[in-house]
Symmetry: C2
Subunit: 354 residues, 2 copies
Amino acid sequence: MKDGNPLENFAQCSLPLTRHSRVQLAHGSGGRMMNELIRNLFLEAFDNPTLNQMEDCATLVVEGKRLTFSTDSYVVDPIFFPGGNIGELAVNGTVNDLSMAGARPLCLSVGFILEEGFPMQELNIIVDSMQAAARQAGVAIVTGDTKVVDKGKADKIFINTSGVGVIEHEFVISPERIETGDCVLVSGTIGDHGIAVLSQREGLSFESPIESDTAALNGLVSAIVETAGDRVRALRDPTRGGLAATLNEFAEQAGVSIEIDESSVPVQPAVVGACELLGLDPLYVANEGKLTAVVAPEIADSVLQRMREHPLGRNAALIGEVTSSRRTFVSMRTRIGGVRIVDLPVGEQLPRIC
Amino acid sequence: MKDGNPLENFAQCSLPLTRHSRVQLAHGSGGRMMNELIRNLFLEAFDNPTLNQMEDCATLVVEGKRLTFSTDSYVVDPIFFPGGNIGELAVNGTVNDLSMAGARPLCLSVGFILEEGFPMQELNIIVDSMQAAARQAGVAIVTGDTKVVDKGKADKIFINTSGVGVIEHEFVISPERIETGDCVLVSGTIGDHGIAVLSQREGLSFESPIESDTAALNGLVSAIVETAGDRVRALRDPTRGGLAATLNEFAEQAGVSIEIDESSVPVQPAVVGACELLGLDPLYVANEGKLTAVVAPEIADSVLQRMREHPLGRNAALIGEVTSSRRTFVSMRTRIGGVRIVDLPVGEQLPRIC
C-alpha cells in the first residue's frame, strides 16, 4: 500500500550514480554531463543491447526486417527564430535521427505539451510548418497526443516527435565500423542553427542575418549510401554539442582517434564573427541540417562530389581522417600550425537550442 | 529571408479553425474541446489516412507486416501518487495504447523534459519504476532523449513515451467493426486512477485509501484476443475523459448508439464516496489500467469469464450493448429506472491527470 508519502516506499532504491543531487541545465547539453546521466542512470536502469549501442536511433529487427525507431523532445527558446520554428525543427530532427542509420523514414508521431493561454494562431503556424516539413521529407505524421498544463507550468510549447524508418540495404552503418585511415566529411557550414537561435534570443543582429540550417537530410543520406554502399561507415547529425560532440562520440564508440584540419571545416564568415563576439567555438555550436560522414578513403572523393551535387551538401568538405592511434580522442590541426585537443564539451554552451 | 519578426512571414497562414484564440486547459482534456482541436487543426494539417482513423495508435504496414505506433506525453500532477508515479504511468500508458489494436508491444522510446533543479533521487526512483513496469509488460526501452529547461519553465518532469508493436493476427480490431447487438465489457472498477491522483493533489484522505490502477494491459488483451478471435470488435483504455469519452468515441466512429446499465458498471465504494464528495461522475474519471471491449454477443460470456481469470480483469463486467438506433449517442439506464444521455465531456473535469 502506497498511501501516505509515496516517496517513503522507495527508501530501498539505489542512490543516483551521478555526482549531482539535482538536475542541472548541462545534463541536457549533449556534452559530458549528459553522457554521465545517460550512462549512470538510464543505461544502468533500462539496460538492453539496443539501447546500450547509444545511437541516435534504435535498430529493431521485426520478422527479419530492420526498422529504426527514434525520439526527440524539442524545447527550443525562442520558438520562432530566423530560418525556422520549433515545429519544423521537431520534424526534421527526428527524420534526421532515423536517417543516420541509413534508414528511409516512414512516419512520425507528435506529442504536444502546451501551456494554457498559448496563442492558437502560433500553434497553427507551427502545425502548418510541421506538415510542410513532413511533406518535404516524404514522411507522414500518423499519430499524436496533446497535453495542456496550467499557465506558468511549461514554457509556451514543447514538442516530442518519434519516428519509424526502414533500412533497405544489407549492411550496417555504425561508428563501430570506423577504421583507421577512414575520411571524415561534413555536409556544409557548421554552427548556423545555434547562432541563429542565440541571435534571436538575445536580440542581436548581424550585418548578414544568420538563419537556422534546419532541414531533413534523408535525401542526402540516400545519395551518400547510393554512392558509397557499405563503404560509408558512420553518419551522424551534429546537433547539441556540435561537431565536437559528434566526433568525440565516434572516437569513443569506435575506439579510434580522429584528426581534423581547422582550415577545412566550413564555417560561414558571419558565424565566425558572431562566435568571436560571443566567445563561442563553432565546433561546439548546434546544427540542425548538417551531417558528418565517415567513409572509406577510396570512396571519399566520389562521396564528396555527390554531396556537393545535392542542395543540402553544396558546401560539403573533407575535414579530417581517422588516425592510427588507439587513444580515443579528437584533435585539430589549427590554422597557425599547432594541434589542439577537441574535447567533449562538459556542459551547456547554449541551453535550449533544440 | 526570415530575419526580423519571423511571425510576419506567416501572415498568409490559414487562421485557426477553433473557437478559441488561446489554448485552454480543456483542449487537453480528452473531451469535446480536445476533439475539436484535433479535428480542426491537427487532422486538417497532417491529413493522411492513418492519422484520420483517430485511433489511440497508428497501424502501419511495413513489407506486408502490420505494426502499431503510438505516442503519449505525461504531465500528471503530482508526479508521485498512491499506487504509482509518472514513470510507470508513462510506460503502462503507451503499452496499453499499442495493445488496444491487439498488437504485441515490442519496445518503447522515452523522452524526458526535466526542470533544472529537479532532485536526482526522484528521477532515479521514476527511472527505476519505468524499468520495473517495462519488465513486467515485457517491453524494452530502446531509445531516449533528455532535455533540461531552466527552473520555472517546466513543472518538475514531463515524460513522453512512444512505442512500436506488431499485430500477429489477421483481423482488424477497430471501432468501425462494431455492430448492433454487440456487448460492451469493462475490465474492472472505474475511476480509481483519477481519484487517487486527485486525493494526493488535494491532500484528501479517505477511510480506505484509493490507489491508481496503473497497469500494462497487454497480457489481458492477449487473453481476450485468444478467446474471441475476430469476434472482438474494438478495445480501448478509458483514460482522459473516462469511460464516457471512450464509449462516445466508439459510438461516433461506428455510427451506432450504445446503452449501458448503471448498476452493472463496477465502481469501488470508496470511489463512489469520493466522487459524491467532490461532485464528480465516475464515468468521466480517468483510468490507467482498465479497458473497454466490444465483442460479438455469442462470445461475450466466454470473454467475460476469461477476463475474470486474469489478475487485471477480476472485476470485469458486462455493462451494456450496442443498440439498433442509428443515432450515435451513449445512454445509461440509471439505478432508479430512468435513462440519461452520457455525453462527451466538454472540457476538463480533472486537469493533468496523466
